[in-house]
């Protein structure tokens, strides 16, 4: 048997391809499974009979999905932010929301947001909650 002892063995180089394969698979997994949506929660305290609020209730009725509301018979739009702030500032009490037929949940949430941003301290979903 002949042994070729004179040839210098070059060290075997580690190929990067299997590493890239694994990293790509990990990347795909994290890209597909991770979510970036930010969920928030809006508390809806369901009134019980024991908790009666003595303050005056100002009825705010949401008429349609475009954001038309009526407060004490006066109709205005949620887009008119300044007028809404004036109307809110002129009244003290609990703003009770009532909703017309066919209004979507998004419009209701938008109304609650607009009332809070316009300075209403207490917003009640009394007309919506059971």
């Amino acid at each position: 048997m002949l042994l070729d002892l004179d040839t210098v063995r070059t060290p075997a180089r580690i190929s990067l391809t299997p590493l890239i394969d694994v990293v790509f698979i990990l990347l795909l997994f994290f890209m597909l499974s991770s979510s970036f949506s930010q969920w928030r929660q809006l508390d809806l305290p369901i009134p019980t009979a024991a908790k009666a609020d003595a303050r005056e209730v100002i009825l705010v009725r949401l008429l349609d999905n475009d954001g038309t509301i009526s407060i004490d018979g006066e109709q205005l739009s949620l887009m008119a932010g300044e007028r809404l702030s004036e109307v809110i500032a002129a009244r003290q009490g609990v703003f009770g929301i009532d909703v017309a037929e066919g209004v979507h949940t998004q419009s209701l949430v938008r109304l609650v947001d607009a009332l809070k941003l316009a300075g209403a301290e207490t917003v009640s979903l009394g007309g919506v909650l059971p």
Partner: protein, 143 residues
């Protein structure tokens, strides 16, 4: 000075060209690992209403009710009839010990009529639960 160009060429093998690629891929991998949240996805896709409200989801025990825009309801992963939610919740309550701290998280589609939401809330109250919250998506502005 004599430069042995043959030696330099020999050291240059095919892997050197992919090192920038690996750098980018590693950066993307680290970005998605750190910033994304791996969570269980819902049984149906819903688009909850947008709101500027900034209360984060509470960590306590909760019962999740999902209702799509078409009025199809699920409690957790189990489909339920929209009219039978009270009895479905009562069956589900057996699994929970601390009922005082149990909250109900309602994830409804933004397009669901409020009348449907009201009947849902009435059924939740009839089941004896009063800690109810609506899940919203964070929006940048109030529009």
């Amino acid at each position: 000075m004599i430069i042995d160009t043959a030696k330099i060429k020999r050291r240059d093998n095919g892997d050197d060209n992919v090192i920038p690629l690996i750098n980018i891929v590693f950066l993307m991998l680290i970005f998605f690992m750190v910033s994304g949240q791996v969570s269980k996805s819902d049984v149906v896709k819903t688009e909850p209403p947008k709101s500027v409200n900034d209360t984060r989801l509470s960590e306590q025990d909760s019962l999740d009710i999902i209702v799509t825009a078409e009025g199809v309801a699920y409690i957790g992963d189990v489909p339920v009839q929209i009219g039978d939610i009270t009895s479905a919740i009562e069956k589900k309550l057996i699994e929970y010990v601390d009922l005082d701290n149990l909250s109900v998280r309602i994830k409804v589609d933004a397009e669901l009529p409020v009348t449907e939401l009201r009947s849902l809330l009435r059924q939740v109250r009839d089941a004896g639960l009063v800690r109810v919250s609506l899940i919203t998506r964070l929006s940048e502005r109030a529009s």
